[in-house]
Symmetry: D2
Subunit: 445 residues, 4 copies
């Protein structure tokens, strides 16, 4: 057995060649799926749903997967969907996409713009739009799922297509895990995901190691004592206190984090008082905290707790401050070997269009899934900006100004070549595991 195994296991170059062969075969049918993909994308784009409310989107996804022959599970962690396709022995590859949209008023001017509104968790009616491109991620994964389902003879193993809810609020992946995902899907050997990047459409980019930040969001309420604006000595002024806290917090990154570490501490919101002449009794700060290691995260959080508590003491506050952590995202730390394997497959397929990407300070909850299984993973970027537009902006040194970033009201990927590229990237990356054993396994038969 050992001998047989040894002789039939291809050397990496050989496996890559097999995979490349499988890629060609699988992607031959891309023109056949492209049509419904574009329609599907426009439909989902025009009908976005807020986090944890992706009911219709999940239904559409589940229907497609079912029609492709996947074994479909719905309602995982609320609205999560997985499709499982077992295709003989071989690795288990998990591909993941997100389904939720954001409470933003779309301003793209596209004919398929969203006009949807919904009621948010505070009871306010809010607009809803896919300004993060999750609709594109879902569309690409569905397309790749069909392509791979329709060409099972070219690969071996198990494909898990996972569509998660509520990435935007950081807990969609965890809720699927907590809803016993491990009992539903086999343990993946690798987990793969992708996201739109502000790069020309047609490009793909990989990066080993920490690629996206840990993010924590924190609401801090400090308690003073209200009173008339004319009698500050009878009050404990929470506006002055909050200002001191904000000022102090800016020393955390500048003094407490090693200069070579990437860390961000932003106070995105400060709220206190309603009237000029009344000193309020509290102030509320909302913080966004990012880092690329648990150690740095701890440094930041410890400093925030310490500083806020001490500033409240400096003001002689009658009550302790309150800290609420929310919208927490894990580190996206791309496994070196996994990333290298995907990068090689991309280079083989995309040529010069396969690049490396920079670390970005954005965050994702994708890694919660592989982390729960102890599975290595990688997460890559696909360009989504019209190449001409991008080139003009780049030539003018105006990328930041002219290219809408995700979450901006006017953000939307160009449908093509974004959709094709994202579909190809998923197939190519999946086959780097599933396709490499193609000949080998067949030989074993």
């Amino acid at each position: 057995m050992d001998t047989v195994t040894i002789t039939t296991v291809p050397v990496p170059g050989e496996a890559a060649a097999h995979a490349a062969h499988a890629v060609q075969a699988v992607l031959e049918a891309l023109p056949d799926v492209r049509g419904w993909q574009e329609d599907f994308y426009r439909d989902v784009h025009a009908h976005p749903e807020l986090s944890h409310r992706e009911y219709k989107t999940a239904k559409k996804v589940a229907g497609r997967l079912d029609s492709f022959g996947y074994h479909v599970h719905e309602g995982i962690g609320g609205t999560g969907v997985v499709g499982i396709l077992r295709n003989g022995d071989g690795p288990v590859v998990l591909l993941r996409a997100e389904m939720d949209a954001l409470p933003v008023l779309e301003a793209t001017g596209l004919p398929y713009s969203s006009t949807v509104t919904d009621t948010d968790s505070h009871g306010n009616e809010v607009p809803v739009a896919h300004v993060c491109g999750h609709d594109m991620h879902t569309t690409c994964l569905l397309g790749a799922a069909q392509l791979l389902a329709d060409s099972r003879e070219h690969w071996n193993g198990t494909l898990v297509a996972l569509f998660q809810p509520a990435e935007e609020v950081g807990d969609g992946a965890r809720r699927m895990i907590d809803d016993n995902l491990a009992a539903i899907i086999p343990r993946p050997d690798v987990a793969l995901a992708q996201h739109n990047y502000q790069l020309p459409a047609g490009l793909v980019g990989t990066r080993p190691g920490p690629a996206l930040a840990i993010a924590d969001n924190m609401r801090i309420t400090v308690h003073g004592r209200g009173g008339p604006g004319s009698m500050p000595h009878t009050t404990i002024d929470p506006v002055a206190l909050a200002a001191m806290i904000v000022v102090r917090l800016h020393t955390v990154v500048s003094r407490e984090v090693p200069p070579s570490e990437t860390a961000v501490l932003t106070v995105g919101s400060i709220r206190a008082g309603n009237k000029s002449n009344v000193i309020p009794d509290r102030a509320v700060l909302e913080l966004n905290i990012r880092s690329y290691s648990d150690h740095t995260r701890k440094t930041l959080l410890d400093a925030i707790y310490r500083i806020v508590a001490a500033e409240c003491q400096a003001s002689a506050c009658p009550r302790d401050p309150e800290f609420i952590l929310f919208d927490q995202f894990p580190l996206t730390d791309n496994d070196e070997a996994t990333t290298s394997r995907v990068a090689d497959a991309f280079t083989s397929f995309f040529g010069d269009r396969a690049q490396s990407i920079n670390q970005v300070p954005a965050s994702e909850d994708f890694s919660d899934i592989p982390n729960a299984f102890g599975t290595p993973y990688t997460y890559w970027g696909i360009g989504c900006i019209d190449p001409d537009t991008y080139r003009k902006a780049a030539d003018a040194g105006r990328i930041a100004q002219d290219i809408p970033a995700p979450h901006a009201p006017n953000f939307a990927p160009v449908i093509q070549p974004t959709c094709d590229t994202g579909t190809q990237a998923l197939v190519v990356a999946a086959l780097a595991w599933l396709g490499g054993r193609d000949q080998q396994n067949r030989g074993v038969d």
Copy 2:
């Protein structure tokens, strides 16, 4: 003539005696007005109206004045009312009360509590309540107006009973002036007003010189550049800027105002951003600024303009800050001679219940009226707290904690002896001018 005049002008002591005699005579009828006063007070208290919307209150006031025999003018400066009673030669005395209530939810638990709501200038439905006691001021002035009208034989001169709108927002008095009040009433020789103070009901208190502060309210909008919380370097963070401004503003009183001057600079409200992970594009601060002289006021305002502008430069703001002054109140600077005359009359009538009061950092727009005429004025306080309650709080050193201040949701004067005392005080003070020439003028006849 000269000789006659000289011989008939009473020395002050003699005039005071005449006035004291008139006071006794006029106030004999107080038990007759007390009944309707208490009903009227409860009615107005239960039906409060916001600033510049005192339509029903003004109508009630005008109806009463008319029934007392006053020549009544309505709608001055919107909803202002004056009643003029000419009673022979003699001084013109203006007595003033306010009619407007506040957007506060009453929490007194009184049977005649307000349940009124109205729509504020931002379009929000707000509760309305008389938590500043203007209903009491109006009631006392109406009572005094009837008492003086019903006993004209005891005094000489002209009485102007003025009921102004919109004291709470600082422009009710000015609007009456701007609506040509000078063409409606004769130029007053003296102007008198009173306010509830946190003192035991039954007391009256005077103070010469600056008694209430100049107040300005200011809304400052500073403009940064918004962006993702994770990319502060692409933004100009208005939260950090606003915090620096608040911190800097606290050096104005501590460094720029002479230590012996009274000045207050409060930032009552700070607002920036809605989300923890989005750096907003602006911040709004609302300030309350108080002083007791134009020079100190200028020091404060100049420092605010200078500091905010410079801090915006320190942040490299893309736009200049915006400053809007609103709810501005003049200095209440009680004329020495006028105050002395009222204080003497009070001592004569109230005995030990006539006291002096401290400067308070509150503000009033009353002085806009006498200032427009170049008329000397004084403004005094009347106690409005149940004496037993007050004594217990004082004994426990808990005045600040246990005695509701004006504008607090649970503030309300005790009806008696507040109403009697306020009515008496107006009569006594008015007769210090109108009653002192009683015998003299009669002798001239």
Copy 3:
């Protein structure tokens, strides 16, 4: 006896007339003392001595007092001197002057400028100069001492001429008290002192009530952890900490002290680090704290302790901060009756040149002496600026800019009429007690 006394005690008006008579008589000899006074002043001015080192000055003073016939005690509290002159029954009047100079380089350009240097308590050689006018105070008191000694027939009682050391550091008076002054002098019935004011020479000014502030000086050492400037995360940066403390301390006056109270909190010195690229391990702040009541003083001190401790916690300091109070000065709270008596005597003698003066934020340790005896006191000002110079500065609105304040390198009184006026003021004030019984006692003889 009692009866006699009662019948012969003059009514105040009569006593004042007696005193005025005595003043004329005593001051007749002023031209005789003026000569040596001016020489003495120039000599002491040119030979200033630091606090607690007034050896030569004390010797000169003691010699003069002895020559006038005073019973002289030297070396009280180090270098303090008292001369006692008992002149029959009557009140005990204490007149006080100071002898110490300051570590300042004189820049008056006067022919009798100081060129003296001395070694300060840190071992540094420093210049020494009489830039606070203590030389003038001493000269005036010596002159008054001689005038009163030479005309004992015009007054009755006991005169105590006290020359204290170390007023500038706030403990000269206390050291005399602690050195058992009470065993050396009789308990005074009244204590009197004067100081140069930035007013035209020739004027005298009084003020009842709090006239000079309580002052405390505080040295605060905060402990961080030093390290290379390039590795702030290995340090606890005391520069950043000290800056936060300074900023926070400016909220004490603006937020914690009632706006109508006078209070000053100045950080006069901040010191940390020697090199740009080394984060030091500590920072030292020196504060000056002034108030006019024990309650406000406590508010200030409590806030400082609380804020500094909390800011050190916010920085996670490895050691607690250290607070050292030094150069503490008591309140100078002029007794109402005493001040009134002096003011009346001044008006009687100086006419329009007797004025009232404003509260000033300076401080003095004079009151430690009367407070130790439970003796009422007053402290007045004498003008010391050339009247023409003063008038020009006043006309130009440039008093603050053009008139040197005490402690400025170019401060010096004009010798005349400052010296005459200060001498006269002491005699006039002393005789308001000692001279009033002149005729009475003589009549008893």
Copy 4:
């Protein structure tokens, strides 16, 4: 031509083998130089000289070089020394060491500790010590210079041994350049330098790309207006201003520099005022500013200028602030190919003792020399800590606490194996250029 070139140029592996052979041959004599090296080191260590005053050290260096057969130039840029050894055709390799010491009181307790003092540029007498290890760098380079001079048959080319002054103040290298170094030495093909690192002695470490930071030091003087501490309103308080500036400056790194960029802005020193009760007229801040790119450096400097100027406006300063840049160091950006060549040579010679090192926030002026010639360069580290001591500290997680850093009073390399390793490293690195053509060139002859 092409053909000839191709046939005679060794493939890298072949060149490396030649170089490795040369290394063995040259270093055979290391035991012969080790003896005088250790003596020389102890001598220079015990007789340190401040920057730009390396007179005796330079004389000792020049004497040795001359004795080895180098063509020696002295006094370049003040006290700089170069020795040139031409040894046939081949590359020109520049090896550089520094000679200056620091104004620090040595606290190593070593028998050869410095007891030297000197007068610094402010006229103060200061201790002097080699607490940065320049004495070791000089000793190693002299040893390598002799070894290479004594074995010329094993290499070809030109060796330039450069000993620069005043590295500690950042301008020693530039002064040599400005003193026309280019006319004295041939243009180097490569420039090499090394520094003690806090690693176990015996190790060498390389790093391609930015290895040491750009450093700028800045002295900022801000001008307020002095006055009595009791009268802040007559002053412009530079202590409050300086505190605001420090606080504001901490937002530069946290808000204006991209989070992924390494940047440091430290205020190492703040100085204002001498007395608690006097508000001074100015404050002086000293800053240390580090970055790894010109763009980030510009961001930092622009922000500092902008913030300080604006804060001075916020304080209404009477004069503009003053900025003085000093002790400026360029980026040390190790050439990729050069570093790779040295790293390969180190691995070949040192085996596991050749490692990679981290970017450190320290700075150097070495790169000014190659930059002036357009020469690629690399700069590596040599361990200098006793390996046992290091291991114990590492095991206890106490490297930062227990291992003295350069510039600390108790910093000193262990003489061995530091000296041997540093000498070997220089020889090995030089021969990676000079030794590789050994056989080839000889064959050409």
